[in-house]
Symmetry: C2
Amino acid sequence: MEREFLAWLRDHLPHHPRFLLGPGDDAAVLQLSGDRCVVTSDMLNDGTDFVSGKSDWKLVGRKALAVNLSDLAAMAARPAAALVSVLLPRHEGLQIGKALYGGLMALAAEFDLPIAGGDTNSWDGPTVISVTAIGQTTPHGFWRRSGAWPGDQIVVTGCFGGSILGRQFEFVPRVREALKLNAEYQIHAATDVSDGLSLDLSHLLEASGCGAELHLDRIPVSDDARRLAASTGDSAQSALDHALGDGEDFELILAVPADEAERLLADQPLDVPLSRIGQFIDEPGLWQITGKTGRQPLVLRGYQH
Amino acid sequence: MEREFLAWLRDHLPHHPRFLLGPGDDAAVLQLSGDRCVVTSDMLNDGTDFVSGKSDWKLVGRKALAVNLSDLAAMAARPAAALVSVLLPRHEGLQIGKALYGGLMALAAEFDLPIAGGDTNSWDGPTVISVTAIGQTTPHGFWRRSGAWPGDQIVVTGCFGGSILGRQFEFVPRVREALKLNAEYQIHAATDVSDGLSLDLSHLLEASGCGAELHLDRIPVSDDARRLAASTGDSAQSALDHALGDGEDFELILAVPADEAERLLADQPLDVPLSRIGQFIDEPGLWQITGKTGRQPLVLRGYQH
């Protein structure tokens, strides 16, 4: 199986001008555009990130790359290459492997991203796929979580909640958006939403050493979150709860100086809407502001590792 | 478990001057010494590369990094960083994870190599560890498999066979040796021995489009290969057979121009012996030369994927 799959890969992995030496040797050699590289790695496994027999393997492969590209977007890094390692069940492994790569390579092509290598294994267990993405900083520098200042506005891309209805596999990582924002606006800090809006925001607060106030009526709630709240009919989980707590939106949370936020929101320079949902404050903690009750601590929801 | 392990990792992953931004953000940012990077990835899984309950987890973690460093050595690349993703059984996962990292970080420290991130997951299945190594080319360029010329001598580091008796976990990747050889000698092509001496040599022949003659009496046979042959008492598997066919020696095979090989072998510049075991020839195929029977095709042995 492995030999047949490796032969299939040799025929299907395209060459790329960034390769000084492509896959097939002991390692690949990449020509970068500078001497800084941005690296991130994510591993997806059957039962946690997808379910064999229910999930579409093409979408699983796509997601394995997309979550890494989302991390590069959160750094405002330009994707340069990816490495892909798979562990496939002996039974049907060839078919699964081809489907995984099918989805992954289609997304890679959208971002002009070469697959620089990886590893292929088979066993009697379930499917595992691990992707490492390598990016490059641009002349505009890179974002980190630790740069938010009190007074900065909290600006987010897109809308939140209910990604389990499909977006968790089909989201487009905000790479192009991040590169455009980094080139044209002053952004103090950023992260992407994988564990949930409120939880990932709290990680950014922790790194920046400040607090934040969220205006709950300004949170962009997705139609999926509304559908999910309506379908369960569970009043304890409103659409807003889903928006605050569901994971895998893979949107960006940005810390933007107040004046710059005015300009950014007036410009709306992206295809996806930008919304201001609150501001960073000196006082630690994450606070919710509603019209009715004023300021209260926000209870964190999301995927706790 | 994951949260506790992540907290442990935060306390144990050392800072490194190569980090412009260390692990803990959405990605890490590395300061390289040039604009070329060398990348490779290997995934090890329970049942194939190690056996839960039999293998020492520290040695498993060490090996997961060492095989990648061996790939960098085969390119004459200087290790710059590694990313480590683990999938741990929920039961005893914390203990296994700490032991894996214990062995891995000790080897990383030997090579002044920062761990730039990765991913930590747990499930009800067996242990999987995936490592990506990032290296840098030096001013002396990098090696590839495809550069051997007819007339070049086949030179190898160390000795071969029987790595299953221990060296498969305890080998030292030939990074320092490769960097020294690349700086001081002309080497046309190289690979490392993971699947077995004869099989990996055949991969180099395929890439270079030439053949080779091996002098069987010059193959450096390890004491482990002799012990293994003696212990099985199986005449069909001599010590030489083990040297030619066993995998995971992680020594280097080098293609060296004839004059340069004379100089190299006279110098013996490494702590590990260098041996000339044959030469590359125009005619395709891998041939064995013995005193008694002259030239015959060599039957390939080794780990066929």
